[in-house]
Amino acid sequence: MNAIQMILVVLVAFLAGMEGILDEWQFHQPLVACTLIGLVTGHLDLGIILGGQLQMIALGWANIGAAVAPDAALASIASAIILVESGQGTKGVGTATGIAIPLAVAGLFLTMIVRTISTAIVHIMDADAKKASWRKINMWQWIDVCLQGLRIAVPAALLLAIPSTTVQHWLGLMPTWLAQGMSIGGAMVVAVGYAMVINMMASKEVWPFFAIGFALAAIKDLTLIALGAIGLSLALMYLALESKGGNGNGKGGSSSNDNSDTGDPLGDIIDDY
């Protein structure tokens, strides 16, 4: 990697760090972050494949309220850098996926540090508001955003400082059975993200939709877009028929954030187990 590439990698990492907390443009999602790292390092195809693999795992990771999900930004950026430096090509994707998970936890810790610093900054904003100096409030907001960027950019720069021969040496120490086993684990671990999403959304009225989706997916000719269209149509039909129904007993919506009474039969069975 030459100097320009390294600078670009750090810039991508900075962008991902910002987005990890802003959650707007999604530069922190593996699909985008890994692809960008691949693009600037000249290993575009590797970045795309790793991004797709990690995205499947991270589908259910979301920031809700004060809780922060495992940090997709650090996981994608760092594992993409390691994959590129390892020089293993697509064979290294499984290993890189495995490495990403502990990194996602480390990122969580870094977020907590920045958010604690932000608490102090908000008090500076209070003082600026009293003096009506809006420019300073804007400035502090930007400092905060940049801190979030540095949260990922600094670890990325540190990783780049390790010579790629060292990275290759470490990865070379890993036996084949471990690398293959991690690939197998990576393919299964996707289930955790789905389980998180289902636990949030499940209610009595949506389980049939789940069953239909599962059964139809076995027909391999149906693309994901076709399945999405079927799902959307079913939901629209359900809602349309419900509002036409004579004594429409309009239920008060899904109790998505309510854990005590979920109206979720399978969930209740699991709870009682």
Binding site: L22, D23, E24, W25, Q26, Q29, V32, T35, L44, I49, G51, G52, Q53, Q55, A58, L59, A66, P102, S118, T119, V122, M125, A129, K130, K131, A132, W134, I137, D144, Q148, W177, Q180, G181, M182, S183, G185, M188, V189, V190, A191, V192, G193, Y194, A195, M196, V197, M201, S203, E205, V206, F209, F210, L224, L227, L234, Y238, G252, G253, S254, S256
Partner: protein
């Protein structure tokens, strides 16, 4: 100030929308999105309150606790823009009214945003992109990025405009029918797609061989009868016919996976998902579950089960 009216132009409102993308930038443990909220409002407040004392009061007014889904903050910002505009033009809007609207809206709106955006739109668009990306298709990440941001920016702008036009009247609507309907519809579609994704993408292949039965003569390729040289390869491939023709060996091997697939394809993935749901409900950290699955993957591979 009552004599000359200060209006917020479309450009002002767009500026506010653009700023609101940094809502979570100064997220903190004390008052959460408050810094981002005041940052979003600053372009409007600056214009509405040329008087330094009024501006200071307005800035402080929006530095109170605020937390909702980052996109669903847009309608709240729209409503507060309308209220602040009225206040700046001499309408007696109490500070409490503005706070009341913000607090009243943020709870219910967060309840809509999480299932719709984080649990339906992102998993669906993400899975669509990821399934293409795994095959090395650059369209995967591009599609994800474009679709997501078109939806997001349109949502931010139109809901903020809606809030601005509706003013405080919107608060009645929030707990009402439409938003609930959208949330429910999203959950239905989300669950449908989740069912499909689990079947397709939770990949578990059990390798143990269940049976190995000899195939009758003529059911497999008779390698000795093939012509010599490269023609043999051609002949063999024709007879094999991508697995639809003759068998390559004299034996038919059935793995545990083949048996499972003829029963219910994707059953193992489904059961693993249910197990994860159960563990999550037992308050096991998702991180530990993920690590556990990796350990199991390695162990079962070493034991030749997977």
């Amino acid at each position: 100030m009552a004599d000359k009216k200060i209006k917020l132009t479309k450009a002002d409102r767009f500026n506010v929308m653009w700023h609101s993308q940094f809502l979570q930038g100064s997220w903190n443990y004390e008052r959460m999105q408050n810094g981002g909220y005041v940052y979003s409002m600053i372009p409007a407040l600056r214009k509405l309150y040329p008087n330094k004392k009024d501006l200071s009061a307005a800035l402080q007014r929006h530095l109170v606790f605020f937390n909702t889904h980052p996109y669903l903050a847009s309608p709240v910002i729209g409503v507060t823009l309308a209220l602040e505009e009225d206040k700046a033009n001499g309408v007696p809007v109490q500070d409490e009214a503005i706070q009341g609207v913000k607090v009243g809206m943020m709870g219910p709106l967060a309840g809509v945003g999480d299932p719709v955006f984080w649990y339906t739109v992102r998993p669906i668009v993400g899975a669509l992109g990821a399934s293409m990306a795994i095959q090395g298709n650059i369209l995967g990440p591009i599609l994800f990025f474009v679709i997501w941001n078109v939806i997001r920016l349109a949502f931010l702008w139109y809901t903020q405009e809606f809030g601005y036009r509706a003013g405080s009247a919107i608060t009645k609507d929030v707990s009402g029918g439409l938003l609930q309907k959208v949330t429910r519809g999203a959950s239905m579609m989300g669950m449908f797609v989740l069912g499909a994704l689990i079947e397709r993408w939770v990949i578990i292949k059990f390798t143990p061989v269940v049976s190995k039965t000899p195939i009758q003569k003529g059911g497999y390729i008779n390698w000795d009868a093939l012509p010599k040289g490269p023609r043999a390869i051609q002949q063999a491939l024709i007879q094999w016919n991508k697995g639809n023709g003759l068998s390559l060996t004299k034996f038919k091997t059935t793995t545990l996976q083949d048996n499972l697939d003829s029963l219910i394809p994707g059953l193992a993935g489904l059961l693993l998902t249910f197990l994860c749901m159960w563990l999550l409900k037992k308050k096991v950290s998702p991180i530990w579950i993920i690590i556990g699955i990796f350990v199991i993957g390695v162990l079962f591979h070493v034991w030749h089960i997977l």
